[in-house]
């Protein structure tokens, strides 16, 4: 039996009245007061999420860059010191093991933030493929993490850390006090993620709350990321789907020498994709779409099922994603989502769902 793991901030969550849930083997808050209110705080002001469940690896050594470039889809060599990128770890079939953010922290030292549910699998996979001259460390137990997200996140940071730099978009910066700050997130808003040595996580969390950030939990994290069309590994990404099928080709550098899964991606690219992760919005009032609900063509034929689905708190419409045959993934295609035997009219839309955020590039952080 595997024991449930606990965030170093759990006492604070309970004091704030959080409802807790088992997420990827961790006991984490699903909501404090209301997913709607927490969602709105991030869109309009600033919210703080406990992301202590996420994993951190450090890869170092003179061979680190070349080795990582052979393991991950995005171009590691293109990163300057202090920069980060969204990237994918693939199996030999081109399927997604995990999506993660890689930061070039120092000249030959990289900081990787991986999904909680994949820490062990990623670490085993990377260890099995390790090259000489490269050191890989799993530091997941040493770091707590907070995601501070929303239009007021940067000013909150400057208030708490008046003498520290807030790195530019996707950047990383180590604070004199020992925290690592990354200008990334999973909400579509400006903000940062701060990784804190476990021992003083509670004081940084409290500083964010005192500075006006609303405590936000996994429920709102899911509605926020889905409004942006960001995938969640385990729902929208899987070992049987390639990043091209998931619409993440932008994060796959097929021109670089070689990486695990590259041959499959090249072949898919030349042959064309048979399925694509498709963004779907309901166009009639009805129950919220949810993962695993069937997606039907306009003639009623089942095409697939939702990998994620939710009522968008911003749009107040049902939104979801599904792997559908390419012929049905064209924007504007009429579909149905089936809910308890009833057909709800829907259509294929462009990602992100939130039109006001369509000018931003999509650089999600894994959950």
């Amino acid at each position: 039996m595997e024991l449930l793991r606990h965030s170093p901030l759990e006492a604070s969550h309970l004091a704030l009245g959080a409802k807790l849930t088992n997420f990827a083997g961790w006991q984490m808050p699903i909501q404090y007061t209301s997913i709607m209110d927490e969602h709105a705080a991030v869109r309009n002001a600033v919210g703080v999420f406990d992301i202590s469940h996420m994993g951190q690896f450090i890869v170092s050594g003179s061979g680190a860059c070349a080795w990582l470039d052979g393991m991950l889809t995005n171009s590691v060599a293109s990163l300057a010191v202090g920069e980060g990128q969204y990237t994918l770890l693939l199996n030999e079939r081109g399927g997604v093991i995990d999506d993660l953010i890689l930061y070039r922290w120092l000249e030959d030292t990289y900081f990787l933030v991986v999904n909680a549910s994949k820490i062990d699998e990623d670490f085993t996979w990377l260890s099995q493929h390790l090259a000489a001259g490269v050191l890989l460390r799993n530091e997941s137990d040493a770091w707590a993490g907070l995601a501070v997200q929303g239009p007021l996140a940067a000013s909150l940071y400057q208030k708490i850390y008046p003498h520290e730099l807030l790195p530019p978009r996707n950047g990383i910066h180590a604070l004199a006090s020992g925290e690592i700050v990354c200008r990334t997130g999973y909400t579509g808003e400006d903000g940062f993620e701060i990784f804190i040595p476990v021992g003083h996580a509670a004081s940084v969390w409290q500083a964010m709350l005192d500075g006006g950030a609303k405590p936000c939990a996994l429920g709102a994290r899911d509605t926020l990321r889905l409004e942006m069309g960001y995938p969640l590994n385990g729902n929208d990404l899987s070992p049987d789907r390639t990043p091209l099928e998931a619409g993440l080709g932008f994060f796959c550098d097929l021109t670089k020498n070689d990486f695990i899964g590259r041959e499959v991606l090249l072949q898919q690219k030349s042959e064309g994709l048979s399925v694509r992760l498709t963004a779907i919005e309901t166009i009639e009032k009805g129950p919220p779409p949810r993962a695993h609900y069937p997606v039907l063509a306009s003639d009623g034929t089942q095409l697939g099922e939702l990998s994620s689905g939710v009522l968008s708190p911003t749009l107040m419409a049902g939104i979801g994603m599904a792997y559908l045959p390419t012929a049905f993934s064209k924007i504007g295609t009429s579909l149905f989502v089936e809910v308890r035997g009833k057909k709800i009219a829907a259509k294929v839309v462009k990602k992100p769902f939130l039109t006001s955020h369509r000018s931003q590039s999509t650089t999600p952080t894994p959950l």
């Binding site: 709607m36 129950p287 919220p288």
Partner: protein
């Protein structure tokens, strides 16, 4: 919010108000607090016959869909169009305008299987 004394309660968190042979059914304040953010209510069809314990309506929050069970048997004789239009009434006024459906009671003896306010308060640990 206190637990109204004039209602019957099911352990599955529905309340029932009896007027003559018509029962009005909704969900308790405790239930709406647990669900939070009710965004959709699926109402039963008028005329449908249900037994005690049958899933009869669905209340959906952002995070989950929850079945609402008939606390006793009967025939659906009314539904609340207001909660269809504004599902948040289930959160803001669970014992009043947030009611969900009405049953024409088949067998009043079934009411004895339900809890009174005091027993329900104990059931939810208050």
């Amino acid at each position: 919010m206190s637990t109204p004394a004039d209602l019957y309660y099911a352990t599955s968190h529905e309340w029932l108000r009896l007027e003559n042979d018509i029962a009005t059914i909704g969900i308790s304040n405790h239930a709406q607090e647990e669900l939070t953010d009710v965004v959709f209510v699926e109402l039963p069809e008028i005329g449908r016959s249900v037994d005690a314990g049958d899933p009869t309506a669905v209340v959906e929050s952002v995070k989950a869909a929850s079945d609402i069970y008939a606390p006793i048997g009967g025939e659906v004789c009314g539904v609340n169009p207001e909660v269809s239009a504004d599902p948040s009434l289930v959160n803001t006024d669970p014992y009043g305008s947030g009611w969900i459906f009405k049953l024409k009671v088949k067998n009043p003896a079934e009411l004895s299987s339900l809890l009174d306010a005091e027993a329900y308060a104990k059931h939810i640990g208050h």
